[in-house]
């Protein structure tokens, strides 16, 4: 395109024709994707906002405008606060665990020991399989009567806990299983980051007499920053949206002890068919995710200046 603009001899009508034909081609190329995005993502976002302002159930399909009443009701709803609290507990339990484990094992695998591809493959195994299917296997392992975990805890002299049936322990079980599932994903991201760090930095640091801690603190950590930041933000976002594993393991029970916000949205929207109310809860979750993600970016950027 630049050539037609710069060459003096080019006939203006022709170049104009070429431009429009390219523009037309471009819109045709984008037509399928843009249509789908418009109808199935952009439109529903506006609908969700509209629904949140209405009292609307599938049983009574005449939406009545109620302003912000859904929001007011939501903030008075103990079950919503319980779900929000569970979501935060889950996030705080799952995120540091999986990131720290992933970092430690990425560092070990980066040492180029023999068989590292095999270990990486095994650690990645849970990421490959549907979390819903894995939750089925975990329910079998945690079965109070015939489960392996109950038996081996008693063999090791540990107290027998009815993990998924106990309101005190169900969340812990869900968190541990989620760490098991996601740590390999973060490991692959961090390993890719580590492999981008040139060994010459470490060699230079050794010449200057740096010890292991200093090397980690002043070389590995700063250079791994982009990967760590991504892994962290991604882990937080997916933890705040936790659904599959919880739905299959506990359905949010026992006694709502593992009901997260998305499980709550699912129950309100697709079991009670209270669509205005469910949309409200989903939008509030979106707001929370947005604020937390921005907050993380802010705080972690801020520290960069040190």
């Amino acid at each position: 395109m630049q050539s037609t603009q710069t060459s003096v001899s080019a006939q203006p009508p022709r170049s104009q024709f070429r431009f429009t034909s390219q523009a037309r081609a471009a819109w045709l190329f984008m037509l399928p994707s843009l249509t789908i995005l418009a109808f199935f993502i952009v439109l529903p976002i506006f609908q969700a906002a509209w629904m949140a302002l209405h009292d609307w159930t599938l049983a009574d399909l005449n939406p009545t405008f109620i302003g912000l009443k859904n929001f007011a009701d939501l903030f008075k709803d103990d079950r919503f606060w319980n779900a929000l609290q569970n979501t935060l507990v889950y996030t705080i339990g799952v995120v540091p665990g999986q990131i720290i484990l992933a970092l430690v094992f990425a560092l070990i695998l980066n040492a180029r020991l023999k068989g590292r591809t095999v270990f990486r493959g095994i650690y990645f195994l849970p990421v490959l399989v549907s979390f819903a299917v894995e939750a089925i296997v975990w329910r079998f392992l945690l079965d109070p009567d015939i489960g392996y975990i109950g038996y081996y805890s008693s063999v090791l002299g540990l107290p027998r806990i009815e993990w998924l049936r106990s309101p005190d322990w169900a969340m812990t079980a869900v968190i541990l299983i989620s760490i098991w599932r996601w740590f390999g994903f973060n490991l692959v991201i961090l390993l890719a980051g580590l492999q981008g760090i040139s060994e010459s930095y470490y060699e230079a640091a050794e010449v200057d007499g740096a010890n292991e801690v200093q090397k980690f603190r002043f070389i590995t950590l700063p250079l791994l920053r982009p990967s760590l930041l991504f892994a962290l933000i991604n882990a937080v976002i997916s933890a705040l949206q936790a659904f599959d594993q919880i739905y299959v393991l506990t359905r949010g029970g026992p006694m709502f002890s593992t009901e997260t916000v998305v499980v709550y949205v699912y129950r309100e929207g697709f079991i009670n068919f209270d669509m205005g109310y469910a949309s409200t809860a989903a939008l509030v979750l979106f707001g929370i995710i947005f604020v937390i993600t921005l907050g993380q970016l802010r705080i972690l950027r801020y520290q960069e200046s040190f």
Binding site: L37, R112, Y123, A132, V137
Partner: protein
């Protein structure tokens, strides 16, 4: 934000000497190596054990499964669970639905994503940046926000419990468009300019020049889409309400909740659901790893 799909973000050695075992630049002494191996192996056991037990249980008779203390290996191996799963569940339907659902979304979405990415990367038109930014913005919205309105729209269209309801809303992905656009931008323009001078149509340039040069990026996105949709749970759970339209993860999980079903049958079903991706991973580990490493550019 350059996308390096070709170099396989996690190629083992890089430019450095592959033989040296070093931990953050330091040599590792044999005792420390032994310790590291112990650590690696014990975590590998914890991570892999549930899959091993799933596999072994699928070959056990019920008496072995409910024996207490649990028996690790079957006393007698059997494949009856793999026969029963087809009769106790509408398993053939689940497999069919999963195949149709995952393959059609993956293939059509690759086509649409790459066409859109081609326009954004290679064609000049007004509003290109606006379109690109709008597509990026849709990536920020969590799916949960759109679920309720989407369900309602599909309900109005009569698309609940249909393949079009499951598939059509997923036929493009903002992430896929973004990924391919970044890749297309990095390709050399020489061939394409020559073809344009020769009067080749834009579609021909896209189909015969740009796509063949993009093998690794397309393969990575293929793996990415397939893994996501084969394993997806929430979307099929919402769009389907009858057992005959469910996919493998949703169908199996709901059967576990609703019926007092034999664990052996369930483990056979779970093994069949897990197998395609594990096998694909063994052959194309590189693309899986590159795909995950690439998700890093989402931010």
């Amino acid at each position: 934000m350059s996308v390096q799909v070709t170099s396989g973000a996690v190629s083992p050695a890089g430019k450095q000497n592959p033989k040296r075992k070093r931990f953050m630049g330091s040599r590792i002494s044999p005792p420390v190596q032994l310790l590291l191996y112990l650590l690696l192996v014990s975590v590998a056991v914890v991570v892999g054990m549930p899959f091993l037990i799933m596999l072994l249980t699928s070959f056990k008779f019920p008496t072995d499964i409910i024996s207490y203390p649990p028996r690790f290996l079957p006393t007698q191996w059997t494949v009856t669970n793999y026969q029963l799963v087809w009769t106790q569940l509408p398993f053939a339907m689940l497999v069919r639905n999963s195949l149709v659902y995952s393959f059609s979304i993956t293939l059509i979405s690759l086509f649409f994503d790459s066409m859109c990415a081609y326009a954004l990367a290679r064609l000049n038109f007004r509003g290109r940046n606006v379109v690109f930014l709008a597509i990026l913005a849709t990536m920020m919205v969590p799916v949960q926000v759109t679920l309720v309105p989407l369900f309602f729209n599909l309900f109005e269209l009569g698309w609940i419990n249909t393949f079009q309801g499951l598939i059509v809303p997923r036929l493009t992905s903002a992430f896929g468009i973004f990924l391919l656009r970044q890749f297309f931008i990095s390709l050399p323009r020489d061939f394409e300019d020559a073809a344009r001078i020769d009067g080749a149509s834009e579609f021909r340039i896209y189909w015969q020049i740009v796509l063949p040069l993009s093998g690794p990026a397309i393969a990575t996105l293929f793996v990415f889409h397939f893994m996501y949709n084969w394993n997806d749970f929430l979307w099929p759970l919402i769009v389907t309400t009858t057992a005959n339209m469910r996919t493998l993860p949703t169908g199996l999980a709901l059967f576990m909740g609703e019926h007092n079903i034999e664990y052996g049958t369930l483990m056979a079903g779970a093994t069949i659901a897990a197998l395609p991706l594990i096998i694909a991973f063994l052959f194309a580990q590189r693309y899986f790893v590159a795909g995950i490493a690439l998700t890093g550019i989402k931010e």
